[in-house]
Amino acid sequence: MNNNYLILVLIVYLLVIGYLSLLKPRYFSIRKLYLFRCLFPSWKFYEDICYQPLLYYRLADDGKNFQQWQLCIEKLDRSWNKLFLNSNANLVHAYGSLVQQLENDKEEIEEGREKDLVSSVSYKLVKNLVEDRIKDQAKFFQFKLTLTMQGLPQDNADILVSIVHEVQ
């Protein structure tokens, strides 16, 4: 690029977006904007390690005597063959976003109105996800979200335990 004017404009632009990217992010509180967030790119990829919600479930045949909690979304095997079509990995990323959305919804819910969470879309979709994973293994199930610091698997805390659901 040999145009000094363009280089100057570019430097000013980068300084401005560099400064803006350091400001505290404002999250969408308006649902319409949230649904159209693909139009507002965020390039802050892998900004920092943080607490990540993990989804667990447990099963029971009678709705009372539950088995041990099990991780719902298991890790995949990687392969170079999936360079072009990696649908399972992308689906697992979508599961991760869904679980994250449920955590966000839970954070947004006002104190004393926790029961409303059960009727939220995120809750219903996560319930579908667990039901899809357990298939016909039991008649009743429960799920929970546990926060885990990335890189520190021993550092975790339950943030949501669902009601007992009957497999549909």
């Binding site: 690029m1 980068l14 890790k75 990696n86 979709l125 996800l129 885990t148 890189g151």
Partner: protein
């Protein structure tokens, strides 16, 4: 590189990227079927914030059977655009990408959706208006170039201010919490502090310095090669294959602008 070549290559690459994205969605169609995780019955509540007419249009377009039709047409349009150019088909690809993002409550795959929309917006704008002025194509190329430079630059700037990135802890944390099982390579990086610090700084310097690719075409080719290796590594460790093709579609514009 001539602007016509850059435009041609951008159109080709984004068409292939959309073909792959659409096939992937077909492969996971069970997840958004009427018995799947993202079933319309549960999702439609979220669209009640729109007017009744918009709700009716979205319900018609996004319910399972019709959504499969939308994907099929998207696949056909992308294949057609490999051989011919058509402004309305670019517009369709853009709208269908928006609808897919809506069906997934905002985005399906985050960054790759953002970049696909950016490239398609530029190509749609160019396809409709480039006959009116030569500057339209130039604006489209610059729009893509500024966005790709911003994507790396912002990503690098936010990392450099984090001590976890500067001391390698962030990279080790991300490596141990990917969607994939541990293997020898990921274990080597997450267990070795020196390697993680070197790789972290390599990523930060590359991302912040990417804008230097605009200084001349030779330097630009070097940055593109490094960027490809970077995206391949992201695919290998994190499964982000869609990013490779969405970002690849931006490189012809970048190379063109570096030669101005």
């Amino acid at each position: 590189m001539e602007i016509s070549t850059a435009l041609y290559l951008t159109k080709q690459i984004i068409s292939y990227a959309i073909i792959l994205q659409t096939i992937e969605l077909f492969q996971i169609r069970k997840s958004f079927s009427d018995q799947g995780v993202w079933r319309w019955e549960n999702l439609k509540v979220e669209f009640e914030i729109f007017s009744k007419l918009t709700q009716k249009i979205l319900a018609f377009t996004l319910k399972y059977e019709n959504f499969l039709v939308l994907l099929s047409l998207r696949l056909v349009a992308a294949i057609y655009l490999i051989f011919y150019s058509n402004a309305f088909l670019f517009l369709y690809l853009l709208i269908s990408t928006l609808l897919i993002s809506l069906r997934w409550r905002g985005t399906f795959n985050g960054g790759s959706d953002y970049m696909t929309i950016i490239v398609l917006s530029a190509l749609t704008f160019d396809s409709f208006f480039s006959t009116a002025s030569d500057k339209v194509s130039l604006a489209a190329m610059w729009y893509i170039t500024i966005q790709i430079c911003s994507s790396y630059f912002i990503s690098g700037v936010v990392k450099i201010r984090r001590s976890n990135w500067r001391n390698g802890a962030a990279l080790r944390g991300f490596m141990s919490s990917t969607i994939y099982k541990y293997n020898a390579v990921s274990k080597l990086i997450s267990d070795n502090k020196i390697i993680s610090i070197i790789l972290s700084w390599a990523i930060i310097i590359f991302e912040v310095g990417f804008v230097l690719a605009l200084l001349n075409p030779l330097l630009c080719v070097g940055f593109i090669m490094f960027a490809l290796a970077f995206h391949l590594a992201n695919f290998y460790f994190f499964g982000l294959n869609r990013f490779i093709f969405a970002w690849l579609a931006c490189y012809p514009a970048l190379l063109f602008c570096s030669g101005l």
